[in-house]
Amino acid sequence: MMNQKYITTIGEQQYTVELLKDNKVSVDGVIYDVDYEAMTGQQLVSLLVDGKSFDCHIYQDDENWHVLMRGALYTAQVEDEREKRLKAAAGQASDEGGAFTLKAPMPGLVVAVPVNIGDEIEKGSVLVVLESMKMQNELKSPRAGKITAIEVKAGDSVEQKQLMLTLE
């Protein structure tokens, strides 16, 4: 039997979400009547909570759930409570550590690589400018760090998910 208790984080806020019997859900102790109806390929969900109707688009990337609901985006991390406790016990492991690898989000043409190996860069620095769909797109760094490898140069064509650059 699975654990039915989750810690769900949206922005700065943590919610304790508990799945109860009879389609009831508790959020930080407040109990809601929930009807979850997946429509197309699990991504479109009609959610009824205490009669309130939410027509939602939900999709996932490596770590997060993204919820588009009434015209706003919520990014949520869902953790099994037990997992969370174990992790906490082991100490904050490695949120900051490890290399960041920049992969091409789509096929395209590299227009510029305005950084060099060894550069110490800020969060938000432009790493690669990629042309795709007739537009130039600036790929920015999600965090500060040091460039340790650059695999592409201006003029290269890249495939989707091709490794372009590594940051440590």
Binding site: M1, T8, I10, V34, G41, Q42, I58, M69
Partner: protein, 505 residues
Amino acid sequence: MTFNKVLIANRGEIAVRVIRACRELGLKTVAVYSDADRRALHVRYATEAYHIGPSPSNESYLQMEKIIAVAKKSGAEAVHPGYGFLAERAEFAQLCADEGITFIGPSPEAIRKMGDKGMARKIMMDAGVPVVPGTPGDRKLNDDELINAAIKIGLPVLVKATAGGGGKGMRTVRDQAELPGAIESARREALAAFGDDNVYLEKLVEGARHIEIQVLADSEGNVIHLGERECSIQRRHQKLLEESPSPFINDDEEFRQKMGAIGVLAAKSVDYVNAGTIECLVDKDKNFYFLEMNTRLQVEHPVTELVTGIDLVVEQLRIARGRTLGYTQSDVKMNGWAIECRVNAEDPYNNFMPSTGTLNKHAVPTGPGVRVDTGIDTGASITPYYDPMMSKVITWGENRAQAILRMRRALDEYKVLGVLTNIPFHQNLLSQHRFMAGNFDTKFVEERFSMEAAEEGKELYPEMAAILATLAEHRQTERAAHIIRRGKRDTSNWKWVGRYERMHR
């Protein structure tokens, strides 16, 4: 000039748009398509369709000779270029003429004159059309001449490529010291992009709006205007939302007719034939300046159609067949208000990064006052080969407020799965007070708007999102576990499926 079969040298929503108009006139249609577009609506809706090459547009939609060959093979007597691709290539219009095919657009000469930004400025000035103060543009100035001119015009100025478009080879200069460097880098960019390093200067009009005039001109010399479109909502020189009328002009009918008359004058000065658009900058004191003329149908033409009731593509076809315009200036009445949102496959939460993929759902909004123009269908792929515009949502209302409200509900209904879209951007924009008040200029999106700030002001439901994300995660885990346990009796508390799913399993 009569014709019964039209080749549409384009793809996407505009190809479908033209096919629809042809059908209504009883004209047969010929589509062309690249590898990526075999399943597109323009192929399926046309009477005939021919493959013209691989997906990249320079191997397919930009191949003039291939397209002409298809026209001859299929017996198409006319070509509609849509917008983009070959629409403003004078040599393509000329090639059509040489081959005895009607080009549905103006003469090669008019395209050429308006395509050279410097030349166009000169012609307009001579015709008495107001242009932004700047260098004449009809001859090449060297760097020193440009610097002297800039001082005379007064800073800030824009350095612009005469062969330009889409913001390439363009620099804003506010400080005299930056001038030589800006000229040099603009020349370099222009040379790379257009093969021509010639640049000219324009005074920077601050706080300006981008407002354009739609004109129609027939081969008998009748020219009318269909009022204005407001196009100031832009990002990186790409229009995102357009409306007609402009909230800035609103019910100032005198000003509208004044701008319209200048639009007609501009068109006449190059013996323009067919549908065209005069783009203007309008400052806060209602001074307006010619910017450029687009010698083709615009993406945003539907807002004009909805307020005037005139089908612009039907008129284009009529004009190309040598007929007299179906309307005189006094027939043109603007009724109500229309807004268009361009729906692009791009992530507004991630710097508008393009998004590609296969659409496992493309459910467009319907109902009163809502029009959608699109070239795709559920199952289509959004590829990196073409621009990211998937569709246009256009709403009409008796007034601007109703058009906005209808747009909001239409965007809420629009469901796209498989790629990310800029729909949330439009939703946020449409609830901004400044937008609702009609109080914006061309810098609004870049300088005064952010997705984060826009969402802060909204009624938010983080608990609901937490419930949804948690249930989605739970179901995913359960599904995975269920697959492993398959065959055994299901004893887990597999209860988090909806009532309907239980009934229909």
